[in-house]
């Protein structure tokens, strides 16, 4: 369980996160939505240790984790993806996945000289695991491609694939869906559900695709201007006036015009 208490993050005079308090229950798939610039990514960045909070507190299972560096949080089981894909460009797609698991004995210099056998064994297992993930994401054919040379959507998939390489406790997904083909996104949604049910992962998902949110998330938290605007089930949120005004819109306008144009 992650609890965010009265969190602030300021950039100069600008309050990107402005006193947000929220809870992500263990075992849930929590949706985080809100207009552009609401502070969602900033909130993720603070929770995941990329940015220090200006004030406020983040706890994970009761332990204060505010301001801890990202790699420490990773080892505590907290993973995240980036909204703008952060691939390792000069490495192959498979290597991008294989580098993830922690505690590889081959990461110790001594072992790279005198523990070759053990490393070889581990590597085989890692490789199999990576291939399995790639298979799942429908990008097996890219395994040996340099990560800088794949399409924008494929990069997002690799981004997601990395989180599937380890047994995480909680995963923060920042717009995995943006730029991903909707058919594939459905499959990814299935996977998230499965990971959640079968392996007990907790998810916190930022997404602008309401269908995706609706299918996966409960509860949904709506942010606006750095604060939590609303919280509840998808349906509750969807019908909240404030949410409609700030975020969803009526969606009618263009339909009307569309009809006028073609009709």
């Amino acid at each position: 369980m992650i609890v965010v208490e009265n969190l602030h993050r300021h950039f100069g005079g600008f309050h990107a996160v402005d006193g947000a308090s929220l809870t992500i229950e263990t075992g849930s798939i929590t949706g985080l939505i809100g207009p552009n610039g609401a502070g969602k990514t900033t909130l993720f960045n603070v929770i995941a240790g990329r940015l220090p909070p200006t004030s406020g507190r983040v706890t994970m299972a009761g332990e204060d984790i505010s301001g801890l560096p990202p790699h420490v949080l990773f080892h505590k089981g907290l993973l995240r993806t980036f909204q703008i894909a952060h691939e390792f460009g000069s490495m192959t797609v498979r290597e991008n996945l294989m580098m993830v698991p922690p505690g590889q004995s081959g990461e110790t210099l001594w072992n790279t000289w005198f523990g070759r056998k053990r490393i070889a064994g581990e590597e085989r297992a890692l490789r199999a695991k990576a291939d399995e993930v790639l298979e799942f994401l429908t990008i097996s054919h890219l395994a040996d491609q340099k990560a800088s040379q794949i399409s924008g959507g494929q990069k997002k998939l690799v981004e997601l694939g990395r989180t599937m390489m380890v047994d995480a406790k909680i995963v923060f997904l920042d717009e995995v869906g943006a730029g991903v083909n909707r058919t594939l996104l459905n499959t990814i949604g299935d996977a998230i559900l499965r990971l959640n049910r079968e392996r007990g992962y907790t998810f916190c998902v930022i997404e602008h695709d309401m269908d995706f949110i609706a299918r996966l998330c409960n509860p949904v938290i709506v942010m606006a201007e750095g604060k939590v605007l609303a919280q509840g089930t998808v349906d509750e949120v969807k019908n909240d006036e404030r949410v409609i005004e700030a975020y969803l819109g009526t969606g009618l306008k263009n339909k009307v015009k569309d009809e006028a144009a073609h009709g």
Partner: protein
């Protein structure tokens, strides 16, 4: 050119250069270039670890080379008992007090509760500490430097075999790198570069001005040779050797210096191959994968649980240590430590040229770059003269331009170097052996 064939061809080409040199100028010169080339290659290897593996832009190489050189003096030169008697203990005590003062201040900063009082206490502590340091250190230094200033005037070293200086040079450089890394590795790209450059200048300033340590700019000469390497003069007096040389039809002088150089070459090659092997093994394992990930994208690597700071420090220290080893080897080969000769152009930028021309991120590239660039650095001199002769060949004797050109020939070394560097980079813009 296929990826497999390319290295073979390029190494072959460089080997040919050396063979041609041997053909034209003889083996003596060639081996001399080989030896310095090997040392250059080791330095390039160290830099490549930092840059090619971790993207750390270190242009303070010179400082680590010099520290290696210092190690050679401290390890191999016999101690100067008179100097030790005059002030050795004072110097040690002074340094100890200095170090304790700094450590104490840091400790206080951490342990004492923040506030005005803390600042005052620390300042007072520092003043007292440094006053005490000065009181003990300065007179001891004067006493030591007064001992036969023209000949010694320093504490000397430990009088151990100079081979020990090689690892010692690595350790010394590693130690310095650790301190530098702890403070400056938060910086990026050119900012890190200029910081390392600054620190290397500081190291050189110390070597130039702390006479009690290494005679400063008065230089230390006569560093003994390492174990299997004989002295030419002795060989030339050895009857067995003379007979053997005569068998080969070589003059005693030539044969002896070739033997000496070959022994050095053997040592250097052994060190180089050992280092390359170790580095390659690591590079091709998960450790290397992790380092590449960090280099490609630190933010993401940190999010994937890699401790970026620690890894940067690790590779910075290791790379610097390799450079330090090479520095000690070079001082051993030269037989002297001359702090005044440490110039960034020669010991930092030339090494960088080796790394980049060889191909950053490729260890064999470092070797290739080291051997090629060093060869050029030496051979551009005759090449420049030759170039000028070619240009002026058609001109009438006594024509002013001809005279001007021929007179400038000796200055054309840089020009030739530049042109060749540009040509190499033109046809291989990612280095001769690019990282795959």
């Amino acid at each position: 050119m296929s990826a497999r064939l390319r290295p073979v061809l390029l190494f072959g080409a460089v080997a040919l250069l050396y063979l041609a040199t041997a053909y034209v100028y003889g083996w003596n010169l060639t081996l001399a270039i080989v030896n310095m080339g090997l040392i250059g290659a080791i330095m390039a290897l160290g830099v490549n670890m930092q840059w090619g593996y971790a993207g750390l832009f270190n242009i303070g190489i010179m400082g680590f080379v010099a520290l290696g050189g210092l190690a050679a003096v401290l390890v191999s030169i016999p101690p100067v008992p008179e100097a030790w008697a005059a002030g050795g203990m004072g110097i040690l005590l002074g340094l100890l007090i200095g170090a304790a003062t700094i450590a104490g201040a840091v400790l206080m900063w951490k342990k004492l509760p923040p506030g005005k009082l803390r600042g005052l206490v620390i300042v007072a502590f520092l003043i007292v500490g440094f006053w005490l340091y000065g009181r003990i250190f300065s007179p001891a230094v004067s006493a030591v430097e007064a001992v036969n200033p023209a000949g010694t005037g320093f504490l000397g070293g430990m009088g151990l075999p100079v081979l020990f200086a090689w690892p010692a040079g690595g350790l010394l450089a590693a130690g310095a790198a650790w301190i530098i890394g702890k403070t400056a590795l938060g910086l990026r790209s050119d900012y890190l570069a200029i910081a390392t450059l600054g620190i290397s200048e500081i190291i050189i300033a110390i070597l130039k001005n702390e006479d009690w340590l290494n005679r400063g700019v008065k230089n230390v000469i006569g560093i003994p040779r390492p174990w299997p390497v004989p002295y030419e003069v002795e060989l030339q007096q050895d009857q067995g050797f003379l007979a053997w040389a005569a068998d080969w039809g070589a003059s005693a002088a030539t044969a002896s210096s070739i033997i000496v150089k070959l022994s050095y070459a053997g040592l250097f090659l052994a060190v180089l191959l050992l280092l390359i092997t170790l580095v390659e093994l690591s590079w091709r394992s998960p450790w290397g994968r992790m380092m590449r990930a960090i280099r490609d994208n630190e933010v993401s690597a940190a999010a994937m649980g890699k401790d970026v700071t620690r890894r940067h420090l690790q590779i910075f220290v290791l790379g610097s240590a390799v450079v330090g080893v090479a520095g000690a080897m070079m001082t051993t080969l030269d037989g002297q430590l001359t702090p005044g000769s440490y110039q960034p152009l020669r010991f930092t930028f030339l090494i960088w040229v080796m790394v980049i021309v060889g191909g950053s991120g490729n260890n064999w590239g470092s070797l290739l770059g080291g051997m090629l660039i060093w060869w050029l650095w030496i051979m551009v001199e005759p090449m420049g003269i030759w170039l000028m002769q070619m240009i002026t060949a058609g001109m009438a004797d006594g024509y002013w331009l001809k005279k001007h050109l021929i007179d400038s020939a000796a200055h054309m070394r840089m020009l030739t170097m530049g042109i060749i560097l540009l040509l190499v980079l033109r046809f291989s813009p990612r280095g001769l052996l690019p990282e795959k």
